[in-house]
Symmetry: C2
Subunit: 355 residues, 2 copies
């Protein structure tokens, strides 16, 4: 069967010597026939390499067996360190359940973006969605919940908005980073954070505040710097922190993402400081090149493969109706990967020290 021409159900019926309705009912599990007849039909299916047309099957079942996914693009000077792993994980998990992923573009305009979601669902192209980069009062969450459209999110939203969700416990991650620095003897620890409107940022920052207070240290207002999570901001914020009077000048800082940490390290190096000694720095996300920076960067790694698997499993379970959708959020712990930016002389991969 090397031709691209599609075999029809009528040809299968002719070869098996039955009506096409009989073939259709058998293949849809709507009828049981004499064993010899069934065997003849299945043999014809195999010989002709018949495959039911997706659109016909979908029209019958009212299911597309397709999930929609769109994501916020990463600025061109940053690596999207999780996209490949997250997509591959979701694609493999979906394939195992006979689902596929339909990807659609991100639009900065929220109304246009929402329209993409609604149109895909209403035209029956997808049975539901996977969301990521979920923010406070996320309009996608509010609209999809309101319309009863099935979805599972990578990330929480505002308190009170409850829906099926998997998230990395960023607060726990920052707590681990701060405890690591405290154990190394640091007491004046600053944080490079995002603006307060960032849901992910506030989750992560809460762990910094908690760990400091648990150690009996009240974080000074000057120690929390907020800005966009880019290298330039990290460099600038670190410069301001290093200009503080000696008695409150931080000897360590935790950045809520790797680009800010990279910026802070650059500032320290430019000032001739020994990174890891005069200033210790941690990042978040464990960008693939964190290991190759000089010095290599201590960072928090998210269990992305597992997240992809869980997102799809939870989604297909919901669609199968096997379990009621749980509007609860599962939190997964990140790993702290210790490198030279906090412990000079640390050797990297494969000896990366994971706490």
């Amino acid at each position: 069967m090397d031709s691209a021409r599609r075999v029809t159900i009528k040809e299968v019926a002719r070869r098996a010597g039955v009506s096409y309705q009989t073939v259709s009912k058998l293949l849809n599990g709507q009828v049981q026939l004499a064993p010899a007849t069934e065997a003849r039909i299945f043999e014809a299916v195999r010989e002709l390499n018949y495959r039911p047309l997706y659109s016909a099957r979908s029209l019958r079942s009212q299911r597309s067996r397709t999930l929609g996914y769109s994501w916020t693009p990463t600025p061109p000077d940053q690596a999207n360190q999780i996209l490949d792993t997250l997509l591959q994980s979701m694609l493999h998990a979906a394939e195992a359940e006979d689902y596929h992923l339909l990807c659609f573009p991100h639009h900065a305009d929220a109304t246009r973006q929402l329209d993409s979601y609604i149109r895909l669902y209403e035209t029956g192209r997808v049975d539901g969605f996977i969301l990521s980069s979920v923010e406070y009062d996320d309009p996608r969450v509010i609209h999809l919940l309101g319309r009863g459209v099935p979805f599972v999110a990578f990330g929480r939203s505002s308190a009170g908005l409850e829906f099926p969700c998997i998230d990395v416990d960023g607060g726990l991650g920052l707590q681990m980073a701060v405890q690591h620095l405290l154990a190394l003897g640091h007491r004046r620890i600053a944080a490079l954070a995002w603006p307060e409107a960032s849901r992910v940022g506030e989750n992560r920052l809460s762990g910094y505040l908690r760990a400091m207070r648990e150690a009996g240290i009240e974080p000074r207002p000057e120690w929390v710097r907020r800005g966009e999570g880019r290298v330039a901001f990290g460099a600038q914020a670190a410069a301001e922190l290093l200009d503080l009077p000696a008695e409150i000048r931080p000897s360590a800082l935790v950045a809520l993402n790797d680009p800010m940490a990279i910026g802070a390290v650059r500032t320290a190096l430019r000032r001739g400081l020994r990174v890891g000694q005069d200033l210790a720095v941690t990042g978040f996300d464990d960008t693939p090149l964190a290991h190759y920076l000089q010095p290599s960067l201590t960072s928090l790694r998210q269990p992305i493969w597992e997240i992809g698997q869980r997102l799809i499993c939870q989604m297909t379970d919901m669609l199968k109706g096997g379990r009621p959708p749980e509007p609860a959020c599962s939190l997964l712990a990140p790993e702290l990967v210790v490198r030279e930016s906090t412990v000079p002389g640390t050797q990297g991969r494969p000896e990366d020290l994971i706490l």
Copy 2:
């Protein structure tokens, strides 16, 4: 219309006071009605927010308006620096043509991977494919060509295998890198290459050989090192090159990708060499963090956004039948981004010097 319940064509017909066959024929452009009747039907469509079911439309048109895409995952210690940009570009271009991208997982087993392609096409889930990471005698190319399945590839295959394709001229890129090094006064220039089985690798390497010979320098066999394109290999190969006798020891090397270049830089730094002076190094792909390495890395940047746009345009043109599929490959030039690893003291972004 805030309910997720789907509006049927019969409800539209009832509201407009016509038969549902009339609505169907009008919406499919098969009939012209009295202007007042058409206006009434379109008003009902708008009021009820009716959207034709995708699977029904697809079954009628025998077109899924969906393109399949699968890609080779990047090892976890490397950033896939093009995936996000390539996908976003393709998704936007596809949306503009009312197409969507169906992503499916990569399988290392070639037979299993081929089966995914064939099944998606035969069941009518996709109208064709976008291929990337195309190799010599790529089994996907051979099978899809043989079955007459439409596809457009990012990357060429073997000479003689002709199909619609967009590629970056890697040979031109390496030629630019070598000419840059020659202009800086280097004469003993080595290359860190992939094994000969790599189609992309041989394309790129040919530019190194060409530029050297055009400058009257016959590349010595010792100067071409082949191995897997990882940091560890780059570090090892650079060590071997730096151990060559002084009269043939390279003062510069071009790596066919950034990880090998990063490895070479690490070796040079460990030996106390001044990178950019004692040893100049260039990479390929302009990984997002190339700018943040110490020293920052001179590299070749591919026009990924444009490639994504062209891949989809060529594909949808083919499917529309507006133009005959051209089995020719369009070659796009990469840009050389000069940084400290070849010119010490070069300031980086936004002053990155693009040659």
